[in-house]
């Protein structure tokens, strides 16, 4: 069975383990997911399994999206995500549930989209120290500071850390331990925090760096 599911972040809490220690967990409403397509090297050039999550009304999808799902006689699904898996051991149209895929004690990676912070200055965005508060300074407290040298090189280097848009990017959190699985309610609890707001869509995969 391939290790992978799409889910929605529910929120954080803590539970007690068998020793009575409090464990911080993030709950994820994971699956049920359907295998919508299997990519193979001959046709697509790479190995992957495409999963679909959350059934919705037929009117919400375009004809092309419905046609793609109809290949495997699946209903309309809101989210499609691909998981790179070499040996999928599933076939198109299969249903994956959290109770069958993950078990307590496993390590997983969680991929999500972080909370958007808008346009932020260099102090918040890159951890710059800002300028001095005193000694006659004005308007320098959260300033970026110098962004380069003089005539040599005569330009600002690419990738220079400056103010700009922060957050709302793809973030992967590695090696989170599965602490809670409830197959009946499709709930998964992983130790620690995961990216994104409550209700944000996340991918849960087998840990890559074990």
């Amino acid at each position: 069975m391939m290790k992978g599911l799409i889910g929605k972040k529910v929120g954080m809490t803590q539970i007690f383990d068998e020793n009575g220690a409090a464990v911080p967990i993030t709950l994820i409403e994971a699956g049920p997911c359907y295998v919508t397509q299997i990519r193979n090297p001959e046709k697509d050039g790479y190995n992957a399994v495409q999963l679909g999550f959350e059934e919705i009304k037929r009117e919400r999808l375009t004809g092309g999206q419905l046609g793609h799902l109809k290949n495997n006689e699946l209903g309309p699904l809101r989210f499609l995500r691909e998981f790179r898996v070499k040996d999928p051991q599933v076939s198109e149209g299969d249903k994956l549930e959290v109770g069958d895929v993950f078990e307590i004690g496993e390590q997983v990676d969680v991929v999500g989209t972080s909370k958007g912070k808008g346009f932020q200055g260099a102090v918040k965005r890159h951890g710059f120290r800002g300028g001095p508060k005193t000694h006659g300074q004005s308007d320098r407290q959260r300033a970026t500071g110098s962004i380069g040298a003089t005539t040599t090189p005569g330009r600002v280097f690419k990738g220079k850390k400056m103010p700009g848009h922060m957050g709302f990017e793809r973030v992967t959190i590695h090696n989170l331990r599965v602490e809670y699985v409830d197959g009946d309610r499709n709930l998964l609890g992983v130790r620690g925090s995961i990216p994104g707001p409550k209700g944000g869509v996340v991918m849960i995969k087998a840990a890559r760096k074990q």
């Binding site: 529910v10 929120g11 803590q14 539970i15 007690f16 009575g20 809670y180 709930l187 609890g189």
Partner: protein, 116 residues
């Protein structure tokens, strides 16, 4: 809706647990594991504050150990390590957080008993 899911995952509240309020003189019986044996330890003192918050609900107990040294310990209300909590007496207090007790010793650290 998501809050309902979170609450359902948290430990059920213990019906035997008495209501713990600031100023209460309590004994907390705590299960302690030493190697393979398990024993119960009593921690007796005054409750300084209590907090709600699902599985994070907790309360702080202050006791005066030997040589008049104050020891404070915070317990999670729903922790399975708590065997039981006994309330010995309740006090008349006018605030939720009795941090002023830290500065007081001896007779000054007394609280007026509340009978009801």
């Amino acid at each position: 809706m998501s809050d309902d899911i979170i609450r359902s995952v948290e430990a059920p509240t213990n019906p035997d647990m008495p209501q713990i309020k600031p100023g209460d003189m309590v004994s907390v019986f705590l299960r302690i594991r030493e190697g393979n044996t398990e024993r119960t330890q009593e921690f007796r003192g005054t409750v300084l504050n209590s907090r709600k918050g699902g599985n994070n609900a907790n309360f702080t107990v202050r006791r005066i150990a030997s040589n008049g040294i104050g020891v404070e310990r915070t317990f999670l209300l729903n922790s399975p390590r708590l065997e039981k909590v006994v309330v010995h007496r309740r006090s008349h207090v006018r605030r939720a957080n009795l941090t002023f007790l830290r500065e007081r010793t001896g007779k000054q650290a007394r609280l007026k008993q509340k009978f009801n």
